[in-house]
Each structure stands twice: as C-alpha cells, then as structure tokens.
C-alpha cells in the first residue's frame, strides 16, 4: 500500500497527483444543431464546472502531503486552453493527449489508464461528470481499468490524518476512508475553489503543454445523430394568483397527478 504520507516527513514522499480536465461549452450557452450534429462553432468553451472542484481538491491534496499535480486532457489542439486554465489556478504540469475523434467510454478509459500507468500517478481527481455528456463514466471506469478503488460524487476531501472523503450514501452522507491508489470524482459540495491570480495567468501563458500521442482502441459505440429535444406544446397561462385554484384542479383532472 502506498501511504498518503500525512504523518511522514514531507519531502521524502512525493505524491504524484493527476487531475482530469475537459473543455465543454459554457453552461449558460445555447446549443445549436446544424444538420445532424451539434454546432459548437460560436460557443464559448470553458473548463467543465465539476472539474474545477477536482482541480481544487488535487491542489489541497498536494498542499497536505507534498508532491506534484498534473492536469491531463484528451483532445485536439483547441482543448489546450483548459490546461492553461488549470495551470493558472496552480497545477504543476499539463499534458494533452492528442486525439480529436469520438471515443466511447472504453476507448477513452484505455487511453487514460495508459498515461496513469506510464506516469505512475497515485491518485486521480476528476469531475463527477462532464457538462457535455453528463455521463460520469470516466472516473469509476478508469479506476476499474487500473484495478483501483474509487469514490464518486465526492463533496469534500479531508486530509486530516488518514485520507477520507465525504460522499452521499443512502439517507445522508458518509465519511469514507480511501486507500491509495484511487480515483476521486468530485461534486460541487461546499468546497470553495480558488481563482487564478495575475502571476498564475502569466505563468500559464508561458507554460509548455506536454503533448502525447496515444494508441486509440476501436470504439464499439458510434454516434448516429444529435438533435434538439422535442419541443413541448404551448401550455396554459393565467394572470393573477387566483388562477392557482384552477391550476390545482387541472393537476387533478387533466394531468391526473393529484
């Protein structure tokens, strides 16, 4: 077992921490369809919101035990902005795995397990899901590829003594002890994320992206089409609070809900 080293002498143990980041359309942006697929040409791209919490927890992990934080993304050259954003917040290294084609979950996780093995990371942080697919498969899937433990939907990481995380379980939350190596998928929770400062932004501008190639396995899932969700027929609209009585009646008689 690899010790978290919280009681060890800092400087002896260098924990290699990875954080996975993904560039996605700003969550306030409107999604347009052109032909059979989504048209993102005029959309502002940002770091997927949950990845911000992953970066924050990775940096806190480093601050607690020493070590290095490496941000990794998979994408074309256009996705390097998300790495620069992570660099500006404070990660040490940034790696882009050069692959611009559609990857199903197995192909993506194979690529990621390759780099995690190669670089000997001991803990991987990621967002609980990316704001584009919303799937949330990457964290737990990568852990399984590595034969590691994983906890998803983590709302807090604690570095006091043993490494533990807080995640929803049944009727409430659980404090879960984690043995490294592991993958931690992060939710928003009450964690406040740090913002980049001027120095960080300047450093990020000059930072070199470490670009790697990857063997891309075949995908068994392929995209057929993307489209807008079916439009909803116009509803009924009333003026004034008195209409609440009529709406209650409709919920019972028309919608059959009450």
């Amino acid at each position: 077992m690899i010790s978290l080293g919280l009681h060890g002498s800092v400087g002896v143990i260098v924990t290699k921490i990875a954080v996975l980041v993904k560039q996605v359309p700003d969550t306030n942006s409107k999604i347009l369809i052109s032909g059979n697929s989504v048209d993102l040409s005029s959309v502002k791209m940002v770091m997927s919101p949950y990845d911000e919490f992953a970066v924050e927890n990775a940096l806190r992990h480093k601050e607690a035990v020493g070590g290095t934080v490496t941000a990794i993304t998979v994408g074309g050259q256009g996705s390097e902005k998300v790495l620069k954003d992570a660099k500006a917040i404070g990660v040490d290294e940034i790696i882009r795995i050069d692959c611009d084609s559609y990857l199903d979950s197995n192909a993506l996780q194979s690529i990621l397990s390759g780099i995690v093995t190669q670089e000997d990371f001991e803990v991987v942080y990621c967002g609980k899901s990316a704001a584009d697919t919303g799937a949330g498969s990457t964290g737990p899937g990568l852990a399984e590829h590595m034969g590691w433990g994983s906890v998803s939907n983590v709302i807090e990481a604690r570095f006091d003594g043993n490494f533990s995380v807080v995640a929803p379980l049944d009727d409430g939350n659980a404090i879960i002890e984690v043995t490294l190596p592991a993958v931690i998928s992060c939710d928003k929770g009450n964690t406040k994320v740090r913002k980049p400062n001027v120095k960080g932004i300047m450093q990020a501008k000059r930072a070199q992206v470490d670009v790697r190639s990857a063997d891309v396995p075949d995908s068994t899932v392929s995209v057929v089409s993307q489209s807008l969700p079916p439009a909803k027929p116009a509803g009924k609209k009333y003026e004034g609070g008195q209409a609440a009585a009529e709406v209650a009646r409709l919920l019972r008689d028309e919608a059959n809900i009450i």
Binding site: N106, A174, I175, A182, K188, Q226, L228, K237, G241, V247
Partner: protein
C-alpha cells in the same frame, strides 16, 4: 439471442419501483431478461420474480452489499452475471456501478438512455439542451433514466436462485451522517417544488415547504438561490451544476428559467410556473403558468391542493 441482465435498483434495502421500468427496457434490448438483485437478505428478491417478463432472478447475496463501494459491487456482480447487455438505473450510484461494470468487462457504457430503437440508444447531452443517438454493437452496459419507460406489470413467476458472491472492497465507511432533514431529496421525489431568487429571502422557503408537505414533495432551488443564500444548500440545487430531475410534477416558483436551470428539469412530465414576470422564459416550458407573485399564488395553491387530498 442476446441476453439482457437487469441490475435491480436498491433503495434503503428494498427494490426500487424503477426496476420495473428497467425490465421493460431490457426487452427492447434483448430476448430474455435475467434480474440480479444485490442483497444481504435474499428475501428482498422475491417480489422481482412476480414481475411480468422476468425469466430468471439471481439474488446475489454478499456482505459487500451492506454499503456501496464501487469496486466491491462491480466485482461481486460481475463474477455471477452472465454475458449480455447489462441494464442499470441511472441513479448516481447505479451510473457509477454501470461505468465500473463496463470497464471490468472491457465493454462500453451508454448512460441516461431515454429511448431505444433497435441498437440505437438516445440520451440527453448538454444537460438536455440536445439529444444524442448512439448505436451499440455487441455487449454494452446501459443505464436507463427513471420515469421514462413504462413499468413492467405484475404477473410473472420466475425462479429465484440465491447465489453467494464476494467482491474486493476498496473503501471503508468510517461514519454515516444521516441527513438532518427528514424531507425527501429532490433526486428521489415524484413531485418537486423549487424556489428561486424571486422568493426574496431563504426564510420564505417555508411557504414552499407547506405546499411540499401537502403533496409529499421535495423542495428544490435554483442555482441563483443557492449561490445567493448560504441557508439554501447545494444539495437542493436543480440544474446543470446541481441535480438533474425528472419528476411527474415540477413547480417552479420565482424562478426565471435560466438555461442552466431548464437543463436540470425540462424533462419533468408536468411543469407549473409561478412568476410575477410574464416574460420569464420558464413560461415557455410550463404546462400551467401563473403570472403572479408567490405571495398571491402559493397560499391559494396550497389550500386548493389540501382540499383535494
């Protein structure tokens, strides 16, 4: 012959009703349907055998299933599951399990499926601002959105076989913090009433709670409300950076309907909007819209609903 394997959805030690929906989906993806029930007490599997369309029930019994651990559950289920298309619910825990099961078998996972047409599966992307249809070839793991597929009816008589299994648990629960509030969570409610910044103050959420109590509903909030008021926790947030919900009825009060919020609730079966701004975007998505302040509308809504219960 493709076999479908449904992993029963477990909630508080019992079979969750969405399991019946998974069985309907299973028949759209394969020819026969085996249901695996992860359990510590195999008697919970008995009701599953009476669901129509189930050919076999495997009560997978193990101490691993006492608490959720992704590695433990995936290894314990994988070792006793036949090959085929595996179907799970799309609760946060089950999506996690689906991803691990797929990775364990080196196959792919398609999450949050809302429609099935042969081997074509559709899921919302960009939190429901668009839909994506993918095609699967061979085995896969598929998670199914709740409240979309018809529930398989009673009327089956499948055999239940109890199988002991074990798994490699990777994490340990040190402490459970039971939620202080006894109120339903938005992710498990059939009816949700949510408040936005238009509520004026977090203290006014008590008026939403009154309606919620009448209906047995959960209380949610918009991101604006959660970000503005510390008393409204993120666990209540519905929207793209909060919870995606799909209830039978969603009542939005004092919520303008930012695209961020719509993304988390637009697939609700019925949407009621109460907002004083007649031009609020939420009205474009509402089945029933009321242009009024919440102070005017909520007491009338509450008393009218009370009278019907």
């Amino acid at each position: 012959m493709t076999e479908s394997i449904v992993i029963a959805e477990i909630s508080k030690g019992n079979i969750h009703p969405t399991t019946n929906e998974l069985i309907t989906a299973a028949h759209m993806l394969g020819d026969s349907c085996t249901v695996i029930v992860p359990c510590t007490d195999s008697s919970i599997a008995d009701p599953v055998s009476k669901i129509s369309g189930v050919s076999k029930v495997i009560a997978a019994k193990s101490n691993v299933f006492t608490n959720y651990d992704a590695a433990g559950w995936a290894s314990a289920i994988d070792s006793i599951s036949p090959s085929g298309i595996i179907i799970t619910s799309s609760s946060p825990q089950s999506k996690d399990l689906a991803a691990r099961l797929a990775a364990r078998r080196k196959i792919s996972v398609v999450q949050d499926v809302v429609s099935i047409d042969g081997s074509n599966l559709s899921s919302p992307i960009y939190s429901g601002k668009a839909m994506q249809t993918v095609s699967i070839s061979g085995e896969a793991v598929v998670s199914i959105r709740q409240n979309i597929f018809d529930a398989a009816k009673e009327g089956g008589s499948a055999d239940v076989s109890v199988v002991d299994t074990s798994g490699d648990v990777a994490t340990a629960v040190r402490e459970l913090i039971t939620r202080a509030s006894k109120r339903l969570d938005v992710s498990e409610a059939n009816i949700i009433i949510s408040g936005g910044r238009g509520m004026g103050s977090p203290d006014n959420f008590i008026h939403l709670e009154k309606v919620a109590d009448t209906l047995g509903a959960a209380v949610g909030a918009s991101r604006a409300a959660v970000d503005t008021w510390d008393d409204i926790p993120h666990s209540m947030q519905v929207g793209q950076t909060g919870k995606t919900v799909n209830p039978n009825l969603y009542i939005a009060v004092g919520i303008s309907g930012a695209i961020q919020h719509l993304a988390g609730m637009r697939s609700s079966k019925y949407i009621v909007a109460i907002n004083k701004d007649a031009d609020a975007p939420i009205f474009q998505h509402a089945d029933y819209g009321i242009v009024a302040t919440w102070e005017e509308a909520l007491p009338i809504l509450q008393s009218s609903l009370s009278a019907m219960m």
